[in-house]
């Protein structure tokens, strides 16, 4: 009967705390949101299920969570499978692999066709730095603040990569916050877009982009990589992979590699990353005051970034004869391609025949590059 009681004590029912129940419900909510609303399902489903997994209580003598790793007693042979899979998050291995796949699926040609739109992808990064200041104001260390600010970059892999290097203790909260707001882009951005633009501005039509020759598309990833990393070497890993992926795609002679990078490889890494990041949100480490602050700062970051992009577009219009539709500035936050779709949807409400999607893709992908550079700068200045 001893054995029976020992087992009963080991069950989850016996050890469950309300905080775990709350986290499990949040996980289920994420899954529901992904399925019902189709908000970033490729990440919210694994993250949500990971949150459920990570909050099942288990007896202290077992190794089951992402934190029961080889640094604990027993070394490797006592480390959990989840901790081994979490290796790729903890040491920043998964984000560059995802960027490889994203590079292999991203078509930069609308950006190449109208290079001035790239600046919009820079303006939206103001959200990162404003949030950084805010986070330091609230008492976070500069390293933590940098990792929190990058949420406004609206690129999950970049946020996870920087957090793993600068503030591993906040990684779970930052990752979940980043992906939550990326999923909520269709909810967060429209009010700001209406607030900062006039009806006339939203109806501006832009010239269709020109056809970009193959040679330009091949030269771009190499040249852009050199420019970015000579200025900000800290962006080398993320941008190296992003532009390698893009070169594999555009060179056409390595099509089979690009194809695997944007299918099997990115899918495998996405599952493992999403699910282990979710599983890292154990209530005991996740439900803290810091996490709540991070969520607040994350929202702020997204709002400032969106506003920054739109206002900069209006600023550029002061000097341009071919006006930019300022809505596409909002796509500079990245959250590819959701925010570009939001731009398209709002633009079409004003003028059903105005196709903004392809124009919005330019700042959208430029925003990915911009955030990676910002992460590189922050890492090289603040990193040990």
């Amino acid at each position: 009967m001893d054995m029976f009681w020992k087992f009963i004590e080991s069950t989850g029912f016996a050890q469950m705390e309300w905080a775990n129940v709350l986290m499990i419900l949040i996980g289920i909510f994420f899954i529901s949101l992904a399925i019902a609303k189709d908000y970033e399902p490729l990440l919210l489903v694994p993250i949500g299920f990971g949150m459920v997994i990570g909050n099942i209580p288990y007896p202290p003598n077992m190794s089951l969570s992402v934190y029961d790793d080889w640094n604990g007693p027993g070394g490797l042979s006592n480390s959990s499978v989840l901790s081994l899979l979490y290796f790729g998050v903890k040491y920043g291995l998964y984000p560059p692999l995802i960027f490889l796949g994203i590079g292999a699926m991203t078509d930069f040609s609308t950006m190449l066709s109208n290079p001035k739109l790239i600046l919009l992808g820079g303006a939206a990064q103001i959200g990162i730095f404003a949030t950084l200041i805010g986070a330091v104001f609230l008492g976070f260390t500069p390293e933590q603040a940098a990792a929190i600010g990058i949420i406004g970059g609206a690129d999950g892999p970049t946020a996870i990569f920087l957090a793993s290097k600068m503030a591993p203790e906040l990684l779970g909260a930052i990752a979940v916050s980043a992906y939550s707001y990326m999923a909520l882009v269709p909810v967060i951005q429209p009010p700001i877009m209406y607030l900062l633009t006039t009806k006339a501005e939203r109806r501006i039509r832009m010239k269709p982009p020109r056809e970009v020759p193959k040679l330009e598309r091949i030269i771009f990833p190499i040249a852009a990589f050199l420019i970015c990393t000579l200025i900000a070497p800290g962006a080398l890993t993320l941008l190296g992979m992003l532009f390698l992926g893009n070169l594999l795609k555009e060179s056409t002679v390595t099509e089979r590699l690009a194809n695997t990078a944007r299918n099997a490889l990115i899918d495998i890494v996405t599952i493992l990353l999403g699910f282990t990041v979710g599983a890292s949100t154990q209530a005991s480490t996740f439900l803290t005051q810091q996490s709540i602050l991070i969520f607040g700062l994350g929202a702020l970051s997204f709002i400032i970034a969106t506003a920054g992009g739109i206002l900069f577009a209006k600023f550029m219009n002061l000097f341009l004869t071919d006006k930019i539709n300022p809505l596409i500035g909002a796509a500079g936050v990245s959250a590819v391609p959701d925010s570009a779709r939001v731009v398209q949807a709002i633009g079409q409400k004003e003028d059903a025949h105005n196709i903004l999607l392809m124009h919005a893709m330019a700042p959208n992908v430029a925003g990915v590059i911009g955030s990676a550079i910002a992460a590189g700068v922050l890492w090289s200045v603040l990193g040990k």
Binding site: F4, A36, D38, L43, I98, G156, A335, A345
Partner: protein
């Protein structure tokens, strides 16, 4: 070296086995009951559930490139559809 019955008694494996099969049954029975009730519960709840919206079906990792295979498939399906339809027509005429 002690084998056999002694070992079984010493390590309480009978109790362990009994408990084990009991827990397995307990969990599976709970699942079974849950699944038996689920359809009824859903019938009651369903009217209150939000409808799935598929406003923006693409996500960060599914750019336009990924669409091409599907478009290919649609083209194929279209061709097949036409072929079969054509065959039907021929039969009737």
């Amino acid at each position: 070296m002690q084998t056999g019955i002694e070992n079984i008694i010493k390590h309480q494996v009978i109790e362990l086995s009994f408990m084990g099969i009991l827990i397995v049954f307990c969990a599976l029975t709970l699942i079974s009951l849950f699944l038996a009730c689920l359809p009824k519960v859903l019938t009651i709840i369903e009217p209150f559930l939000p409808q799935a919206t598929h406003g923006h079906q693409q996500t960060a990792t599914s750019s336009s490139d990924l669409l091409s295979p599907n478009e290919d498939q649609q083209a194929i399906v279209a061709a097949i559809g036409f072929t079969l339809h054509h065959r039907q027509l021929n039969k009737h005429t």
